[in-house]
């Protein structure tokens, strides 16, 4: 029997029509999530992290959209199928990037949570449903759940809205949770608590997570494996330990080198330049124009090559590395 991954994204390509032309954003994005695994997707602003999640969730539509590739959930295709509609909110939970804008301002928190619960347990008696949503808030460390349940989104702080969204995404115990920058807009202390709550809950229910973030520290604290994204492409992926200890791709290294350290030692250098224009991205490696190691071969496609156990890099520098 061949083991089937919980989620498998294969060669996802995504282009969008913009006023300056067709933007080729995601290019051959492949990723895989096993049951119970916490995976991070990290990269700079505009590199396509949110679009990747939205494509998986089937939340993108419109005339100007060109998508190809496969998204398999438990081995079955969900990209562009009605199946995703049944999975979303039930088997696949979503924590969107902007908490304030993601809650409906005209309904109380209780109503919004109840609606989500009722999608799975239509006939649950009112008291039981109420107890369930209250428990869901307690689980994400909301100090006074009764007050929060009676509140409307505008009456809650950003930190509380964020926790409500996590509770909403997790209340039906989905097999997979997609979290887009949870806690980025929050204070570090609240962010730390939010991540701990998410970690604890997903461990308890055995859910898998894809966590999108631009914060490498968050990746190290939270995830088992990491995918590094640059300009719509996966440039490196592997176990967090391996990638952080021996980053291979020049972009991953530059990103890690840009992080100021708590141990001191002075400010890092940073990286010049910016993400390319997606209407005419560079051929081959998209990082080429900013890369200190660029050479003519970089204009050719660079496949992901294994450099260590479960650790792959798409860079010409590793073309001759013997397979391990």
């Amino acid at each position: 029997m061949i083991a089937v991954s919980l989620l498998e994204v294969k060669q996802l390509n995504l282009s969008l029509r913009t006023h300056t032309g067709l933007a080729h954003i995601l290019k051959d994005v492949s990723l895989r999530v096993e049951a119970g695994e916490r995976v991070a997707l990290v990269g700079e602003t505009g590199c396509g992290k949110s679009l990747t999640l939205k494509a998986i969730l089937g939340l993108l539509e419109g005339k100007g959209l060109v998508v190809s590739g496969k998204v398999l959930f438990e081995g079955e295709e969900i990209l562009g199928t009605p199946r995703i509609l049944r999975l979303r909110g039930v088997q696949i939970g979503f924590i969107p990037q902007d908490p304030a804008a993601s809650l409906n301002p005209t309904f109380s928190i209780a109503d919004q949570l109840l609606a989500v619960v009722r999608r799975v347990r239509r006939n649950l008696p009112k008291e039981k449903a109420w107890a369930l949503i209250k428990e869901a808030l307690v689980e994400v460390a909301v100090p006074d759940p009764d007050r929060v349940l009676a509140s409307y989104p505008f009456q809650l702080s950003g930190g509380l809205c964020q926790r409500v969204l996590i509770a909403t995404a997790l209340v039906n115990r989905p097999k997979l949770v997609l979290a887009d920058e949870p806690g980025t807009a929050l204070d570090v202390t609240v962010q730390a608590q939010t991540l701990r709550a998410m970690r604890h809950l997903t461990e308890k229910s055995g859910s898998s997570v894809i966590l999108v973030t631009h914060n490498l520290g968050v990746v190290r604290e939270f995830a088992d494996r990491v995918y590094v994204m640059y300009a719509g492409t996966i440039v490196e992926h592997g176990p967090v330990k391996s990638v952080f200890q021996t980053p291979r791709h020049p972009y991953t290294r530059a990103l890690l080198d840009s992080v100021p350290r708590l141990t001191g030692g002075g400010l890092p250098q940073g990286l010049d330049g910016h993400i390319p224009d997606y209407t005419s991205p560079p051929k081959g490696c998209r990082f080429r124009p900013r890369c200190a190691f660029a050479r003519p071969e970089c204009a050719e496609e660079q496949p992901l090559r294994q450099v260590a156990e479960g650790h792959e890099v798409a860079c010409v520098l590793y073309a001759e590395v013997p397979r391990g």
Binding site: E44, V188, F244, A254, P260, G265
Partner: protein, 322 residues
């Protein structure tokens, strides 16, 4: 010892919110030496921007004094003070007037303060842009055609145009990617050293502060919890709130993780604070005294001050033996 450029004494600011009064700043004192970088850290709502607005004269203090080179500042600030004291705002998307070109924005202080004859404005602006790493092709661009990092650079160029002595930097890089952040911060340090400027650096990023500022001041709900030389405070954070802040920083290496103080994460928040320590409701070590009485800011070592009744719990023995 260098001269004190800015001194703030017992600064308090209350806002009326409906019928209630919110104390955004509560008895804050600080001194900024000439050529020094002082970081003000604290979570959202702790009063950082309020402090900046009071120093700039955008808001009036409820009480307390603000002195510049030993002289109380007049409100509204006279023109020469508005030149010496510049401000770089929190948000790169609102900091520039969308209807002005980069040239117009940066030339404005030159005109207002009559620093350069009009025929030399373009040349001078180009020079300032060069200083912040932008080419002359940016002169006639509008803000919408700039990235976040480029906007922050223009805002810095505009502040420098006034030839200031002191700059208040309100989270100048928090909206930027790490790669860009590192560049902008590096630039700010370079400029600071070159023109021996003083910075009041507002931030919530402790890793940035560690590498950027000589001294640090930790605010919580408008009050100073701890202040001291950055290295000393990071080596021995004493106030529980400072310890919580440090314990919360997500880090990228084992060495940094080892540096973070431990924190009892599962402790529950308790009663809200009354007259006592503002942090008492979140403090796992809070005692009855902490609810009742506000601790004052006292030195535990030379220039390392802490406002905690039980500070001695966390003061590390200073070893003289090696």
């Amino acid at each position: 010892m260098a001269d004190i450029l800015l001194e703030v004494r017992d600064l308090t600011k209350e806002f009326a919110v409906g019928r209630k009064r919110v104390r955004a700043l509560n008895g804050v004192s600080l001194g900024l030496e000439e050529g020094e970088i002082l970081a003000v850290v604290g979570e959202s709502g702790s009063g950082k921007t309020t402090l900046a607005n009071l120093v700039l004269g955008i808001e009036m203090p409820t009480y307390g004094d603000i002195l510049y080179r030993g002289t109380p500042l007049k409100t509204p600030r006279p023109l020469h003070m508005r030149r010496r004291l510049q401000y770089v705002q929190q948000n790169p998307w609102t900091t520039l007037n969308p209807r002005r070109t980069v040239f117009q924005s940066v030339a404005l202080p030159l005109a207002v303060h009559k620093l350069t004859p009009p025929r030399l404005w373009r040349e001078r602006v180009a020079e300032l842009l060069h200083l912040v790493g932008l080419g002359p092709e940016f002169l006639d661009r509008y803000p919408h055609a700039l990235s976040g990092g480029q906007r922050q650079r223009v805002a810095i160029a505009r502040a420098l145009a006034a030839q200031p002595e002191m700059v208040i930097l309100d989270e100048p890089t928090s909206a930027l990617d790490v790669s860009v952040q590192a560049r902008v911060l590096g630039l700010l340090l370079e400029i600071q050293a070159r023109f021996s400027l003083s910075y009041l650096f507002i931030s919530h990023d402790l890793a940035v502060v560690r590498n950027f500022a000589r001294r640090i001041l930790v605010l919580y709900r408008g009050q100073v919890m701890e202040t001291g030389p950055t290295e000393v405070v990071f080596r021995n954070p004493v106030h529980p709130y400072t310890r919580l802040l440090l314990a919360s920083v997500p880090v990228v290496s084992e060495e940094e993780a080892a540096l973070r103080p431990s924190w009892p994460w599962d402790a529950q928040d308790r009663l809200g604070p009354g007259e006592g320590c503002p942090f008492s409701s979140r403090c796992p070590w809070a005692q009855e005294l902490c609810w009742r009485e506000r601790p004052s800011l006292v030195p535990i070592q030379k220039s390392h001050l802490v406002a905690c009744h039980f500070a001695e719990l966390f003061v590390e023995e200073v070893s003289h033996h090696g």
